[in-house]
Symmetry: C2
């Protein structure tokens, strides 16, 4: 297999995230403070803000990419924060609802909102957060026609996000899916919102339509790369890095990239054996068998290659876009981190 | 008690609804046709469009009021349909989620979406419909700054709607609520979206800011009137008219207007007896006792009076607004119907 450099650029990425984190967190709190007190309190509970021990807000990759793109384009990045905040609020609305749909008990080591507040109030708080996210975008200090472009970008991403989630939920009940189906699902569930985050950063910075569309495409490709690496970590990630048991996605019989790829590309015998092993919840011996089939078929290398190819295509999209050199270097470091990260 | 005229104006209202129904239904179908195929199919299932026996789309009061207001203002009502459709889509997103939150098995005589598609897919289809509703509003053929005003109006109404639903859900777990709390809940859950519907109609017709705000306030007051009459029908409506058992809301121990009013205004003895009877699910004898307490306290008259007062205040808001005479007469007929209807 191909061994990527250990957490290539992780420290550099942490520096970039740290630079934008205060502005993003301040914006998130201001947006949620503007919510009515009822569902607003539940949104705060979801973020863990009232819990001193857990006052982290996740990785904030989407809003950080939005703000970094705005600066990379060399224009005025001042108007970008409401867009970054809106995207992160949409992401969190989807987490609240996903946790209900998946019946997840914990997230980031804390009980999920539906477990603490009950399903009805948590579902409704997710709806409120969704509305609030879109309302926040209207705070963009841009000419009306550009704010409207931003609203359209975010709405289209939300529609794609819901379709991706629909596909993901329906895939659970199916014996197998094709790689094309997998890609269509990830294009909605993961890539659409990262694409919108980067396009909104460009829009907020006053970029022209070509640059906005280039960043949109770049973000969508990076989202695909990010998800495939997520799938690799879900199977081969170290528990100490990811905080999840080894081969967690295999035990959950997830139809993630390596498995879907192997079903299409392994020898007929291996593919049939993989399908049989995936038909019922696997015990430890079956998990070991599945891992061996994936390794022998080259699924791990194929996933790493696919992730890198998506990251490369992402930057090819930016060929005609003038970028501030230092910020472009940071964008490339983050893209590299997306496909080599260990957690 | 005060006996309202039998279904005052019901036929006239039916004529108005019939005039706008084709445009609204066409717009709804076009909007949903623009959705991705996955969750889009579930939205169609919610509307019952694939079921020939049940191809009705509900009362369509909100979109009808939007279009009627646009015509009443005498401007160009051509741009209004996307606003009317967006409001009706928001209403339907909330129905899909309310049915999950209330664990309702049927709506309009058909199984609810979460019962047929399962909770996860239905929840997600509601999210998709919510995003689609807002996206539809962007089809308004108006100058960008007016479209932005429309987006803001709808987003604010959605936030209020979610807060109203939050309050309604939390009220279920409480022994009693005040009339002020009841009004705050209805202001969100029912009034905000009707207010937005009428304000959007004015905005689409090119009305000035004062007329838009007058219609917004008028619609909110009418929404209050509508809900109080809904509460009256939930207790005293005839099963043949409403399609629900007599005293249905009493059996469900709903904290609707007459009950909340009686708890505040009945004699201390009667209020205490009412509280005691509401503490556990009432049998037939207890339902009869509760109905007697409400009648003796004057709760039914008080509700009728409150509904009429809200309807009167609604039209007082329009004092400075020039309206086309025939359309204004129709608006008044619908308002009258809101507070005298039997179903």
């Amino acid at each position: 297999m191909t061994a990527p450099a250990a957490d290539d650029g992780a420290a550099a990425v942490a520096d970039v995230v740290a630079r934008y984190r205060p502005a993003v967190e301040r914006g998130l709190r201001e947006a949620v403070d503007a919510a009515p007190p009822g569902f607003g309190a539940l949104v705060r509970e979801h973020f863990g803000w009232d819990d001193d021990a857990a006052a982290s807000s996740g990785k904030l990759l989407r809003p950080v990419m939005c703000l970094l793109v705005a600066e990379a384009l060399g224009g005025d990045a001042e108007p970008a924060p409401p867009a970054a905040v809106a995207v992160e609020l949409v992401h969190n609305f989807s987490l609240i609802h996903d946790d209900i749909e998946d019946q997840s008990d914990t997230r980031h080591g804390r009980p999920t909102l539906w477990r603490t507040a009950g399903l009805p109030l948590a579902l409704n708080a997710g709806d409120g957060l969704f509305a609030l996210a879109r309302r926040t975008l209207l705070n963009l200090a841009l000419p009306p026609e550009r704010v409207l472009l931003a609203v359209r970008l975010l709405d289209d991403a939300c529609i794609a996000l819901c379709e991706g989630q629909h596909l993901d939920l329906t895939f659970e009940a199916r014996r197998s899916i094709t790689l094309a189906e997998y890609e269509a699902m990830v294009a909605g569930k993961t890539a659409a919102l990262l694409g919108a985050a980067m396009a909104l950063g460009a829009l907020a910075a006053g970029a022209d339509a070509a640059a906005v569309e280039a960043m949109h495409a770049c973000g969508r490709e990076l989202g695909m790369a990010f998800q495939v690496q997520d799938d690799v970590l879900g199977i081969w990630g170290e528990a100490a890095d990811t905080g999840k048991p080894v081969a967690d996605d295999i035990r959950a019989r997830k139809k993630s990239f390596p498995v879907v790829w192997a079903r299409e590309h392994a020898s007929p015998d291996a593919a049939a054996r993989l399908a049989a092993l995936y038909a019922t919840p696997p015990d430890d011996a079956a998990v070991a068998d599945i891992l061996a089939i994936l390794e022998r078929a080259g699924a791990r290398d194929a996933a790493a290659t696919a992730a890198r190819a998506w990251a490369d295509r992402a930057f090819a999209r930016l060929a005609g876009v003038r970028l501030v050199a230092q910020r472009e270097a940071e964008l490339r470091k983050i893209a590299s981190y997306f496909v080599t990260r260990r957690s």
